[in-house]
């Protein structure tokens, strides 16, 4: 009897979690196809493809998708280039001013990004990177890199330096150690970093608008005006597009990793 109650409770909780996770997507999906959906109707009264037509007929959409994806991937690459050594040093090395650096690295999350963006805009103008996608890529490091370093640091701390030492001992060069030992062991953190920095990058509006100066059109740049336009189906369709982009990236990442594992 007791086990029956427990099982029922378990199933109920699980169902609630699944519904809670999926419901927003279902509603988004439905409203993107809804033609008429007024309160108190539980389901849309009629469906249409209008919202999706609007989205795909936007003259800048394909270019924006491309620009967003490229910027997002460059942001991931830069995050790894900077975050891997930084996370490793913070995890394994002891040096003076370590806690100061840790605090500094947290600051971009604590200080409003608009304030940082404004300051960096002047620097970007001076360096000639304003209104250019390179500037946008660099400015996207501000809201992403602090998380990246924290995640990778925790990842490195989890593994510990001893496996790297064992591998070097057996004859592996530092690069081979990274390829055969560190990377596979660090993969959960690496996947998290890739997903997080991509999602943060593609949803930047303020920073992209500021540094890009309206010249660099990303998905967020054409998405936000629709949100304020109060056209619900179109907003929903755009939201789904964002999700699809992220999932596509994650799938790509996963398949790359699986392929590299098979070679081992």
């Amino acid at each position: 009897m007791k086990s029956f109650i427990r099982r029922t409770m378990k199933i109920t909780v699980l169902t609630l979690i699944v519904v809670g996770l999926l419901a927003p997507f279902l509603i988004l999906g439905m409203s993107s196809f809804a033609h008429e959906w007024r309160w108190p109707q539980l389901l849309p009264a009629s469906f249409s493809l209008r919202a999706w037509t609007v989205v795909f007929q936007d003259s800048q959409l394909w270019e924006a998708l491309f620009v967003t994806a490229v910027i997002g991937m460059l942001v991931i690459v830069l995050n790894f280039l900077l975050g891997l050594p930084a996370g490793r040093a913070l995890a394994y090395e002891e040096f003076k001013g370590k806690s100061l650096i840790e605090t500094l690295l947290l600051l971009p999350i604590l200080v409003p990004s608009l304030a940082i963006g404004m300051g960096l805009l002047f620097t970007a103008i001076r360096l000639g990177m304003a209104d250019h996608w390179i500037g946008v890529v660099l400015i996207h490091l501000v809201p992403t890199l602090p998380y990246t370093i924290r995640i990778l640091r925790a990842g490195y701390e989890n593994i510990g330096w001893k496996y790297e030492e064992a591998a070097r001992n057996l004859g592996a060069s530092p690069f081979t150690v990274f390829k055969t030992v560190t990377f596979p062991l660090l993969f959960p953190s690496i996947r998290a970093v890739a997903a997080l920095s991509f999602v943060i990058s593609i949803s930047q509006y303020v920073l992209t608008a500021l540094i890009g100066g309206g010249q660099v059109i990303t998905l967020a740049m054409i998405y936000y005006p629709y949100v304020s336009g109060a056209d619900r189906p179109v907003t929903a369709a755009f939201s789904l597009l964002f999700i699809v982009l992220t999932i596509a990236l994650l799938l790509m990442f996963e398949s790359l990793f699986l392929r590299s594992r098979k070679k081992v």
Partner: protein
Amino acid sequence: METAMLSCQHLQVHISHHVILHRINLAVQHSEIVCVVGPSGCGKTTLLRAIAGMVPVSAGQVLLEGVNITRTKPERRPVVMMHQEALLFPHMTVIENITYGLKLQKIPKKERERQGMQMLNRVEMADYENVYPHALSGGQQQRVAFARALITKPKLILFDEPFSSLDPLLRRSLGMWMKGMLKEEGMTALFVTHDKEEAMMLSDRVAVMVEGAIHQIGPPLDVYQRPLSVETAVFFSEGMLLDNRFFITNDAFTITADSSTLKEKKLVFKGHIAGKWLRSGQLFYHIVLDTESQELILPGEATFSTGDKVFIEAPEQAVVDLEEIR
């Protein structure tokens, strides 16, 4: 004399202004097993890490078969180190772990697997080829780690207390088994341990290391019976230290119940039995001395009870003057 396999000459290591190793001189001959024994924190592990290339050497040099490897990168040294933990790569199976070193040497896969299986058989782990390390017990993991080290045919294997995380019984048997394997392969090995019994059992020679300096090197029984310094006497040997200068090893002592049987030319100390136990069929007494505020553990033939007053005696010639030696 032929060149030693390993030779450390005036080896010094500093870690952020602290001297960890003081001018270490140590030679290990071909196929010899040397055990560096010392209390924890004496720099034993640092010595191994310096030989493996993991810590920068500040002065002196490390020679391997006469070749100076002091500045050689760790991956280019034909030296493998084994640690307290087995450190098997958790994302690789047992066979992948064992053949890791061969893969780095660009040996083709077929050949790698053949050698790997052969090695697995030798370490009696053949059934575990495709098992991941987390499913193995501590002793099995150490055996796989040993195989992983041995398969790369290093000139020297360094052991950093490889058995200390295992239970005492397994520790002894695995230790003797590993010694047998090393001898069979004619491998040169440098062990590090704080357990002097383990050191005596495993090694051809022991080196007693205290506070970053090696105090004495020699066959284990010699070092035990003839310590040359207070440090060696206190750490490695067992016995009575008088005035921080004279030393009598335990094997010179006998326990008697009354002083009337005492003969001349013998040193006699008064004490009482604080406890007794049997080990390997031998009675041992824990004796607290009345005068020297020292405690001794001695084997005894006669039967005493806890609390008994006893005398312990040793021939005068058994007394070693440590200062005179120095």
